[in-house]
């Protein structure tokens, strides 16, 4: 690649970064501006930053427990989806049984149905079970669609591993279950990392199920935001403050598993 092309490529990347980061920066600015500054007809670039919105929303309006709820829901969903989905994916990758591909496709269809068509029956179901306004309800609901993601992703990861590795592990003295836990799970670690991140983010961002299935106690952060749209106007500063707080853990989390994520999304660790 010659110098001119290189500079052009850097320019394109920079432009993309600016385009994608500007709204985030705008949101951050809105969260530290006073209401007057934020809604001024001409953008105010110089202003006295304030933490007033953060204080109001997290201290006075008690939004802090919502962060905890979101963390619980996202972690619970991720854990449950992986616990059920990974062994299922292994079976799909390795075993032959009647109707296998149909069943596999069925998992995908759970993602095809529009959420609104499922959420009302779910509301009634969880109502009967007495789980409404509990974290369990949200975790189960989120797992219902995250499970298919895990199964679909992990199946291809397990299929990348030559079956001889399973067989070698069995010859070396493992049971089938032992082979799965001791050899295949560590080998599929990059895939598991990638699936974890996606599950966590999807659950963390989800609004509809969480809003319908919770009332007050177990609201997640995303559900809390519409509460800031009041009859007297939208409290943009507070919305921005909550949004910033909601995105930070995801950013942190993504950086944490970044290495695995890249390896997971370009999985070619096994020589075939």
């Amino acid at each position: 690649m010659n110098r001119a092309w290189r500079n052009f490529a850097i320019g394109v990347v920079l432009a993309l970064i600016i385009i994608s980061l500007t709204p985030y920066l705008w949101m951050f600015l809105a969260s530290v501006k006073t209401r007057v500054d934020a809604l001024a007809a001409t953008p105010q670039w110089f202003f006295a930053p304030t933490l007033e919105h953060y204080r109001t929303v997290f201290v006075q309006k008690h939004y802090l427990p919502l962060v905890g709820n979101s963390i619980m829901v996202a972690s619970g969903t991720t854990l449950l989806s992986l616990l059920v989905g990974t062994p299922a994916a292994y079976v799909f990758a390795r075993h032959q049984f009647a109707g296998k591909e149909d069943l596999f496709f069925f998992f995908l269809t759970t993602r095809m149905a529009p959420a609104v068509s499922v959420v009302v029956p779910m509301f009634l179901l969880f109502g009967k079970l007495g789980l409404l306004d509990s974290l369990y309800a949200v975790i189960l609901a989120h797992s219902s669609f995250n499970l298919s993601l895990v199964v679909w992703m992990m199946r291809s990861f397990f299929e990348e591993i030559p079956p001889e590795v399973d067989e070698a592990a069995q010859m070396d003295g493992n049971t089938r279950a032992g082979t799965f836990v001791r050899i295949l799970l560590p080998m599929a670690a990059p895939g598991i990392a990638a699936a974890t991140v996606l599950c966590f983010i999807l659950s963390w961002n989800e609004l509809l199920y969480a809003m319908i299935l919770t009332a007050f106690e177990s609201r997640t952060l995303t559900v809390g935001i519409p509460g800031l749209v009041t009859p007297h106007g939208t409290l943009w500063g507070q919305v921005a403050a909550v949004a910033i707080a909601a995105t930070l853990p995801i950013v942190f989390f993504a950086f944490l598993v970044q290495k695995h994520l890249v390896r997971g999304l370009t999985f070619t660790a096994v020589k075939r």
Partner: protein, 353 residues
């Protein structure tokens, strides 16, 4: 210790009959080679013995114990795979140590055993590496080390040399032979390469379409092939076979006659076989010599392969002498020593003594 295949059959779900009533018995310390063309069931036989494949009917006995219902881990066998199947996330040391870890050996013992076998296979320098940093030959050694480190009853090898380049194959072959002699353990080796089979095996089980065709020492397989299939499969170039009739000590094809004294007196349809290297080449006609025209001469130092024709009959002869004086189109006269002739039944393919 002995291993017995007792009427073992294996049918795959798609209907393929990979093993058809296989009967086989061998003893401890042998280097048994399963040899056959692709689709002969040699790999299936090996996998059935390991327990990785369930058999459809029959039994496999090891030391008189029926191991058929046992899972692989309870059969005391190890396996070297064609693609080595090393654990990519473990170091070479951990790969070799793994069977010992599963068996919960003490830490000190593990280090001891791994270094012993690593020394044996000359891979001590790579113990810290990851499998992907190894060359094919090194990975192969690691796989063999992993299979031998825990001293299993039987070590199974499924075409372990086929992913190596030609030179490395020869070296590794020699080393396996040495290893077998030094360790005295039982090896079962699957290959489609007759040269590997002939050099490595104490006995060769030749399979075709899931059936055992011949099970014998390499010498016998070569010199007394049990069927026409064995005769044509073993040897390079393959044994010449001619279809014709045997009448009063003379073998007739439509256009050639070859004296075959004292072999069989009855008139019957037979296949006559003779190895290229047993054919005697003459430049001049004489009694008992059959005239042919040289078609192609290939120099395979130090020998020469002569592809000859006579009407519809074509043969290949291997001459050890200098043949630069004969050119394609020249006449040659071939002698077929009676003791070098093999006779097979034309319909069953079985050897006629």
């Amino acid at each position: 210790m002995s291993v017995i295949f007792d009427k073992v059959s294996k049918q795959f779900p798609d209907g393929t009959l990979a093993l058809d009533n296989l009967d086989l018995e061998f003893a401890k310390g042998e280097f048994v080679v399963f040899l056959g063309p692709s689709g002969s069931g040699k790999t299936t036989a090996c996998r059935c013995l390991s327990g990785l494949e369930e058999i459809t009917s029959g039994r496999i006995l090891v030391d008189g114990v029926d191991v058929t219902p046992l899972p692989p881990r309870k059969r005391n066998m190890s396996m070297v795979f064609q693609n080595y199947a090393l654990y990519p996330h473990k170091s070479v040391f951990e790969n070799i140590a793994y069977p010992l870890r599963v068996r919960k050996l003490a830490r000190g013992r593990i280090a001891e055993e791994v270094s012993r076998v690593a020394k044996l296979l000359q891979i001590e320098d790579y113990l810290d590496r990851r499998p992907r940093q190894l060359s094919g030959g090194q990975a192969q050694r690691v796989a063999v080390a992993r299979a031998l480190v825990w001293k299993p009853d039987i070590c199974l090898m499924d075409e372990p040399l086929s992913n190596l380049d030609a030179l490395l194959r020869l070296q590794t072959r020699t080393e396996l032979k040495r290893l077998h002699r030094e360790l005295g353990s039982t090896f079962v080796f699957v290959t489609h390469d007759q040269e590997e089979a002939m050099t490595l095996g104490t006995r060769i089980a030749l399979l075709c379409y899931g059936r055992l065709v011949q099970f014998d020492v390499p010498r016998k397989i070569y010199h007394e092939p049990a069927t026409r299939f064995v005769a044509e499969f073993i040897g390079r170039p393959a044994m010449n076979t001619l279809e014709g009739r045997l009448l009063e000590g003379v073998f007739h094809t439509d256009d050639t006659e070859i004296a075959a004294p004292g072999l069989l007196e009855t008139d019957r349809a037979v296949v006559l076989g003779i190895r290229p290297e047993r054919i005697v080449l003459h430049r001049a006609a004489g009694a008992g010599r059959v005239p042919f025209i040289l078609d192609v001469a290939e120099l395979v130092e130090p020998d020469t392969l002569l592809f000859v024709k006579s009407n519809g009959t074509s043969l290949v002869a291997r001459a050890t002498e200098d043949c630069s004086d004969i050119a394609p189109g020249d006449s040659v006269y071939l002698e077929f020593p009676p003791d070098a002739l093999h006779l097979f039944d034309q319909s069953t393919g079985r050897r006629l003594s």
